[in-house]
């Protein structure tokens, strides 16, 4: 409760500072709208449901692509950890492509898929996939050999060992890879949405882009705040609980 109150006080102070800067009129109101204007824009966007629709469209792209990235990346990571040939080929490829900022996939996706949902999905998958492959591969190779050996003596066999020993044992690595994949995917999707207009649905990135085109700064800032809030929400509701569980179980410090 105390932490919540101090956080609340901090943000109130931040907004007050913003209002004060607005009142001083150093910048034109076109460049720096007041907090009230931003809230009014957000209110309008909530009432006419544009915000809801855009959020749903963006999240649908993100979650679908992320899901495929993990579903494909996890087994591939297990395979590269298991077979040297795959590690030397696919593993090295993944390592290389992971260093490529995922925004760089956008032009290629546009040329391959045109201005379609597939292009968006492709960008998100490319953001997720390589991180997940590498993290899984690293995680599996860090599993102490004594765990599978112990499992063997207890009657565990190949597939069971993979699912019930090696996979959970490498979970701390896999989760941090998933988190990184999420961050990459989220960033590249925003870039892609700002960069290209896709007529099948306007995501949050597109609202941001329209805000700029109409010089509607309150829209730009309002959408930015929404994007930040979504990022925070995902971190607090999805990753934080998993990480807390891992830290508690493994006894690693936060």
């Amino acid at each position: 409760m105390r932490r919540f109150l101090s956080a609340l006080a901090f943000f109130a102070l931040l907004i007050a500072l913003w209002q004060a800067l607005y009142d001083l009129k150093i910048w034109s109101p076109v460049l720096l709208p007041s907090p009230v204007q931003v809230v009014r824009y957000l209110q309008g966007a909530i009432v006419d449901q544009t915000l809801l629709h855009s959020t749903i469209i963006t999240m649908r792209r993100l979650l679908t692509g992320y899901f495929f990235g993990i579903v494909v990346g996890l087994p591939l990571g297990l395979l590269t950890a298991r077979w040297t040939l795959l590690r030397d080929t696919l593993g090295t490829t993944a390592l290389g492509l992971q260093t490529l900022p995922s925004v760089c996939w956008v032009p290629l996706a546009l040329l391959w898929f045109g201005q379609t949902e597939a292009a968006m999905l492709f960008v998100v998958i490319m953001g997720t996939l390589w991180s997940v492959i590498i993290a899984t591969d690293t995680g599996v190779r860090h599993v102490p050999p004594i765990y599978p050996r112990a499992a063997l003596t207890m009657g565990s066999k190949r597939l069971h060992i993979w699912l019930k020993v090696i996979l959970p044992a490498s979970l701390p690595f896999i989760v941090s890879g998933m988190k990184q994949g999420w961050a990459f995917a989220w960033r590249s999707l925003m870039a892609a949405e700002i960069y290209v207009t896709i007529l099948t649905g306007f995501g949050l990135g597109q609202l941001l882009h329209f805000g700029r085109e109409q010089q509607a700064m309150e829209q730009v800032i309002g959408i930015m705040i929404v994007i930040v809030l979504i990022g925070l929400l995902v971190d607090k509701t999805l990753f934080s609980p998993i990480e807390r569980f891992l830290h508690r179980r493994w006894g690693t410090s936060q």
Partner: protein, 271 residues
């Protein structure tokens, strides 16, 4: 004591006959960076049903290798290992290992670790499995800590969970590789009494590796002294002392002194 009620659990907890181990002419060498190491050189050894045998000797004399071969985790270059007349071809639930480090799974709590081998046993309901796990956690005195995460347990408690996990599938043979080596003296002494009680209660054939001669005399019906390079059984000692044995008795000290003498001679001749 926790008393499971259903018939299937009682059946699961029933004593199984301990195995007889016949190890015949087992050799094993490893290729290392410094050349070939003959870890075991034609080692032969019989362990009777329900016998407690201790293997002692300096490090590198092949004790762990022999244990791994009995466990089926490694294959000998030559020679055979039989349990009750049947050749060992791989790991099996009838021979469970308690490793030097606890090898407990950090992603499961204490209870989950003991449950792990039971989940691999067919013909048990989940309720039965939980009851059996509870029984063994109580047997090692850790009921209060069943929900504990592994890192929250002390070294001694970890090894207790490991013991419960090894006992849970009701094996015929228990293979223990220096299980108390990392524990402090006080915790270890507590274990000696408990292990003897559990051994008497659960009737297992136990092969116990240690480099602590007194520990070997306290626990073993028989103590086998290994010598290194190449790994061989050098000498065999029968410990005819009543049980339960106390660690600090003069009789035990006499046995230990005899074995220590042989160990010192060995060290003198090999260097």
């Amino acid at each position: 004591m926790f008393r499971p009620k259903t018939g299937s659990v009682t059946q699961e907890l029933e004593l199984v006959a301990p195995s007889k181990l016949s190890i015949d002419n087992v050799s094993k060498s490893f290729h290392t960076a410094t050349g070939n190491v003959l870890a075991l050189d034609r080692v032969s050894l019989n362990v009777n049903e329900g016998e407690f045998v201790c293997l002692v000797g300096p490090s590198g004399c092949g004790k762990t290798t022999l244990l791994n071969i009995i466990a089926g985790l490694e294959k000998p270059d030559s020679g055979t290992v039989l349990t009750d007349g049947k050749p060992v071809t791989g790991p099996g639930r009838d021979r469970l290992v308690m490793f030097q480090e606890s090898a407990l799974f950090p992603w499961l709590n204490a209870f989950g670790n003991v449950l792990f081998p039971l989940k691999l046993k067919p013909n048990l309901s989940n309720k039965d499995r939980r009851d059996v796990a509870k029984y063994y956690l109580e047997l090692v005195g850790l009921t209060r800590f069943e929900r504990a995460n592994i890192h929250e347990l002390s070294g001694g408690m970890k090894q207790r969970v490991a013991l419960a996990r090894a006992l849970a599938p009701n094996p015929r043979v228990l293979l223990m590789d220096e299980p108390f080596a990392a524990l402090d003296a006080l915790t270890r002494e507590q274990f000696y009494g408990d292990l003897q009680t559990i051994w008497k209660e659960r009737k297992k054939t136990i092969v116990f590796v240690t480099h602590n001669v007194r520990e070997a005399c306290c626990l073993g019906d028989r103590v086998l002294l290994f010598s290194p390079n190449p790994g061989r059984i050098q000498e065999e000692f029968h410990v005819d002392l009543p049980r339960p044995r106390e660690m600090n008795t003069s009789e035990l000290a006499t046995y230990a002194a005899r074995i220590m003498r042989s160990l010192k001679q060995q060290a003198a001749t090999t260097t």
